[in-house]
């Protein structure tokens, strides 16, 4: 098995376990606190990764537009994304909320189609149908997963 696949498996394990640990932590902490600590640790790790793989020169921002767009991404991913996602987990539980995150590629595809002019393939549409059906099935049991 290639190193790349092992790293992808490590990423899936990290995100999957991390979500559950966040939920466990939020039994005694606020989502804001957990999000800030997680963001700080991720920032440190990514900084070490960038410095190690590309050198410190890689931190130089290419342009003002790049800085502006990554700022918007930071707002969307951490305040609008992770913080809301953690609040959602605190209310509805990991079992209900984790599969909903699978809808992310659908919205990304919808944006690519409407704003980017891309055309989805038949397999993409089949994947879309599977995701929506899966989420709907999970939601039918939403009141039974919390003890």
């Amino acid at each position: 098995m290639g190193l790349g696949i092992l790293l992808a498996i490590a990423a899936a394990l990290g995100w999957g376990a991390g979500d559950v640990f966040v939920r466990r932590a939020m039994l005694g902490a606020r989502p804001e606190t957990v999000t800030i600590v997680a963001a700080g640790m991720v920032l440190l790790a990514v900084a070490v990764f960038v410095a190690g793989s590309s050198g410190v020169g890689a931190f130089a921002a290419p342009s003002a537009a790049f800085v502006g767009l990554t700022a918007v991404m930071g707002l969307l991913t951490w305040l609008g994304g992770n913080l809301l996602y953690f609040h959602a987990m605190a209310r509805a539980g990991v079992v209900v909320v984790a599969p909903i995150l699978g809808l992310t590629p659908l919205f990304a595809i919808a944006l690519a189609v409407t704003l980017g002019g891309e055309r989805p393939s038949v397999t993409t549409l089949a994947g879309t149908l599977a995701i929506v059906t899966g989420v709907l099935i999970v939601l039918t049991d939403r009141k039974r997963v919390l003890r």
Binding site: A12, F21, R23, L76, L84, V94, P105, T123, A126, A130
Partner: protein, 145 residues
């Protein structure tokens, strides 16, 4: 609105945010910016915004009990490993190979729910079936992207 319903609404709002950020990120990658550098700036700005929002709402205390501190640190460590492994993986394999593996996150979470949240949440046949369909769908889209 019940807590579960409000949680579902918040999750959908989070999905919209993630998807929009992904769309912007894809434009930057297409322009030739390295993914890991984009991620560094994104997280740095995200942390800044989180800290600013926290400073504006002093009632939201940052205190952590000992148990919560351990789980928070474990979560942060897992996410740190996940992010760096993901970027390292993407420099070695095609996205179409990596995406289906990353898409399995809900089922990985379910496995950890059985261990860590046994007294808090329960897995049902329908939730496992639904999550499996989601993972399959994400894999299908990833393979063809």
């Amino acid at each position: 609105m019940s807590a579960v319903t409000s949680g579902i609404v918040l999750a959908l709002a989070a999905v919209l945010s993630f998807a929009t950020a992904l769309f912007i990120g894809k434009q930057l990658v297409d322009d030739g910016s390295p993914v890991a550098v984009i991620a560094f700036y994104e997280v740095a700005f995200g942390l800044t915004f989180l800290a600013a929002a926290r400073a504006r709402s002093p009632r939201a205390g940052l205190m952590l009990g000992r148990g919560a501190l351990g789980w928070t640190a474990a979560a942060g460590l897992c996410f740190a490993v996940a992010y760096t492994s993901f970027y390292a993986a993407m420099s070695r394999i095609d996205f179409s190979v990596g995406a289906p593996i990353i898409g399995a996150v809900p089922l990985v979470s379910y496995a950890f729910v059985l261990i860590v949240l046994r007294g808090t949440e329960r897995l049902t046949v329908r939730s496992v079936l639904g999550a499996t369909l989601v993972v399959g769908g994400v894999g299908l889209i990833g393979v063809t992207s």
